[in-house]
């Protein structure tokens, strides 16, 4: 237990809570979990006016203290002081959307009744002004009996004032007596909130509402879906087009590092370990950092601008057809970045069957860890030519792989909803926030956190599995004069030969079977595994050593094999973290086991069909 005072941010979803949290804590954030429940605990350090540290915790957004999901339950329990692993907050910051006072003040009244010291942050006052609302925080403060501060979290406005008020609350200074709304009913509270809003709004001029103007296009029955499709298409083209230069730079560094290691170490195991194992293996994965960051940039932007809920709205019709809610679209879209946060985001789906189905199909959304695999294979086997109108063939193939995953997911959902996850279709019911231009620092912070997670993975899981694989590939050495290749003779080669009996019918060779084993740890390891394999296989052959991984693959694989390999990765559950998070979210091994089983089965059949079709087509 720390002696630091605890301050909690409380508010409706879309009140700008997270932006305020970022603005107040900067990069000093800690992500954790509440014990016993799968709800994320986000906390950070905040310095009061006099420099005293305070712990700030960002509670899940909720519309009332009558929870409908585990997240909302945590919020209620924390502010009631009943949450395990959390102390009762010393003060609350009630975050309110300034342009939706009638609704948000009702929740404020409900929370204020609990009697904790609180300050109201009238957030996003700039957007309210844009809508023609003129507000008086003073009048509202007087009526509510607690301090009210105008803030614009994304522009860092009003934060000093907020800190000033918080300092006063923590010191237990003048806690004003406020009129209790004690046993008010929902309707009474709502009426009271409306009265309060009338007091706070001192002027209202009808103005052109930007959000409505944009929505006329973004939610248009024809233009809307076209815009969404266009955005997604742009996203995947950008992943390739924008990443060329930074990738070349990282490749250059890896090469220099390899040369340096070669120059500094004597010929032998140490050099092979450093150059073939560490630099080649880890380097071949780190090289995809630019593409992963571009993808996350788009997803963070879509989320922060408020477009994500529009996408859910547009997709709901389609989602309903396979028995899902449009709400499932948001977790599924985040799964394009990574299935782990995607599966965790399913907590916002209250219907259990709906949620289970979403969890089970989330791994079918092409996550960023597949990008390295796709990028290497596409780069090696798909010619970099244009198919006209500035559309590259490589980007098109990548797009097709993403679509393949989506179509697969829809079909699986359709089947699941009629079999193991049968139930009533839960609807789509969600607030659509106003459009807002995000603060670039928030986007940068999000990207930074993602980059660190990725590099940590590269530094740990990928590093360790690369080293183990290097050792398995390097020993035992074939006796002199043997005509068996070093890889074929090694321990790993022998394991792969056995596995290959199963994989050969779908066009996989021994090297692929070999790469699939360590790729269970994380998909992108497949790339470093292939790099290490071919690097060791090249031995001292000068000509082979000069080749890039792509060139080596091209010499060893046929086009049907490469295509089957791509399709395998669309479906295969090659990721231990996803299996672990599924176990946590579904409370047992039953569903993760089911997930792994069905995904491997689909992957095998789909890769097989691809291979046989490609061979039959004479590719």
């Amino acid at each position: 237990m720390t002696a630091q005072p605890l301050v909690a941010l409380v508010g409706n979803p879309n009140a700008g809570k997270s932006a305020l949290f970022n603005a107040l804590t900067g990069a000093r954030q800690k992500l954790g979990n509440y014990p016993g429940v799968t709800v994320e605990r986000k906390s950070g350090r905040l310095a009061l006016e006099d420099g005293r540290p305070v712990e700030l915790v960002d509670l899940p957004g909720t519309y009332s203290l009558t929870p409908t999901s585990p997240d909302e339950e945590v919020t209620r329990d924390v502010i009631l002081g009943k949450q395990r692993g959390e102390r009762l907050p010393d003060a609350l910051v009630l975050v309110v959307d300034a342009s939706n006072l009638e609704n948000h003040l009702r929740f404020v009244l409900e929370v204020l009744d609990l009697g904790l010291p609180a300050v109201v942050a009238l957030n996003m006052v700039d957007l309210a002004a844009r809508d023609g609302l003129e507000l008086s925080p003073e009048a509202l403060s007087e009526a509510l009996g607690v301090p009210v501060v105008s803030t614009v979290a994304v522009r860092k406005r009003g934060l000093d004032h907020l800190l000033h008020e918080l300092t006063g609350l923590i010191d237990g200074g003048a806690v004003p007596v406020r009129p209790s709304t004690g046993d008010m009913s929902f309707a009474e509270r709502r009426a009271k909130a409306r009265d309060l809003a009338r007091i706070a709004i001192v002027g209202e001029t009808p103005s052109r509402r930007l959000t409505q103007a944009v929505d006329r296009v973004a939610l248009h029955p024809i233009l809307g879906p076209l815009l969404l499709l266009g955005l997604l298409f742009l996203m995947f083209q950008a992943v390739y087009a924008w990443s060329e230069a930074p990738i070349a730079m990282i490749e250059g560094w890896a090469e220099e590092l390899g040369d340096l290691a070669t120059a500094l170490t004597p010929e032998g195991y140490l050099r092979s370990f450093l150059v073939d194992g560490v630099i080649n293996g880890v380097g071949s994965v780190v090289v995809f950092l630019p593409q992963i960051l571009i993808l996350f940039f788009f997803i963070l932007m879509l989320e922060a601008t408020g477009y994500m809920t529009r996408a859910a709205f547009l997709m709901d019709g389609l989602m309903a057809k396979v028995g899902l809610s449009g709400r499932a679209f948001i977790p599924l879209l985040s799964s394009f970045a990574c299935a782990v946060p995607g599966i965790m985001a399913t907590r916002s789906i209250s219907d259990p069957k709906d949620r289970l189905t979403t969890i089970l199909i989330a791994p079918l959304m092409t996550c960023s860890a597949r990008l390295p695999v796709y990028a290497v294979i596409i780069g090696a086997f798909i010619p970099a030519r244009s198919v006209g109108y500035g559309v590259g063939l490589q980007g098109l193939v990548l797009f097709a792989l993403y679509v393949g995953g989506i179509v697969g997911a829809m079909l699986v959902a359709l089947v699941l909803r009629r079999t193991v996850a049968k139930g009533q279709s839960a609807g789509l019911l969600m607030e659509m926030p106003k459009y807002q231009w995000p603060r670039w620092q928030d986007i940068a912070l999000g990207l930074w956190q993602r980059a660190m997670i990725f590099l940590k993975r590269a530094g740990t899981i990928i590093f360790v599995s690369t080293i183990i694989l290097w050792a398995l590939l390097s020993f035992p050495k074939p006796p002199a004069g043997s005509d068996v290749s070093p890889v074929g003779y090694s321990a790993a080669g022998r394991i792969a030969t056995v596995l290959n009996v199963v994989m050969e019918p779908i066009g996989f060779n021994r090297d692929i079977s070999l790469a699939l084993i360590p790729a269970m740890a994380a998909r992108e390891v497949a790339v470093s595994a292939l790099a290490t394999t071919y690097s060791i296989d090249a031995g001292d052959d000068e000509e082979k050593l000069e080749q890039s991984l792509g060139e080596r693959l091209k010499n060893n694989w046929s086009l049907p094999t490469a295509l089957a390999f791509l399709v395998w990765f669309v479906f295969a559950p090659q990721c231990i973290s996803t299996i672990a998070v599924t176990r946590r979210e579904t409370n047992g091994w039953k569903w993760p086991a089911f997930m792994v089983g069905y995904l491997f089965a689909i992957a095998y059949v789909a890769a097989g069909i691809t291979y046989w079709t490609a061979v039959a087509a004479g590719l």
């Binding site: 519309y63 009332s64 009558t66 409908t68 342009s99 939706n100 006072l101 009638e102 609704n103 009702r106 929902f186 309707a187 709502r190 959000t211 409505q212 929505d215 939610l219 248009h220 029955p221 024809i222 809307g224 879906p225 809920t309 859910a312 709205f313 547009l314 709901d316 019709g317 309903a320 449009g326 209250s350 609807g427 789509l428 019911l429 969600m430 607030e431 659509m432």
Partner: protein, 84 residues
């Protein structure tokens, strides 16, 4: 249950003005985007059907609002009641 509560939390109550802003979907009945008070809320037709509404005669066809069977205000603005 939970959904009726959520609708109420969104401000759907007797006397509230509900305005259908957008309808998604080219084919069939896609989701609805409704303006409730100062909020825009996405919902399915099932939710929309559970809200008893009376059309506002003063409104343009697009702002078609509707109301319950018990209009109380003199101004013909729309009312809504959630079904629970």
């Amino acid at each position: 249950m939970g959904e009726a509560q959520r609708l109420r939390e969104f401000g759907v109550e007797e006397g509230a003005t509900v305005e259908v802003l957008h309808r998604a979907g080219l084919l069939g009945r896609g989701a609805l985007a409704c303006r409730i008070g100062r909020m825009t809320v996405a919902m399915r037709h099932a939710h929309g059907d559970a809200i008893h509404v009376r059309t506002d005669p003063a409104a343009t066809p697009e702002t078609a609002v509707a109301s319950s069977s018990a209009p109380s205000s003199a101004h013909p603005s729309a009312q809504a009641i959630t079904a629970s």
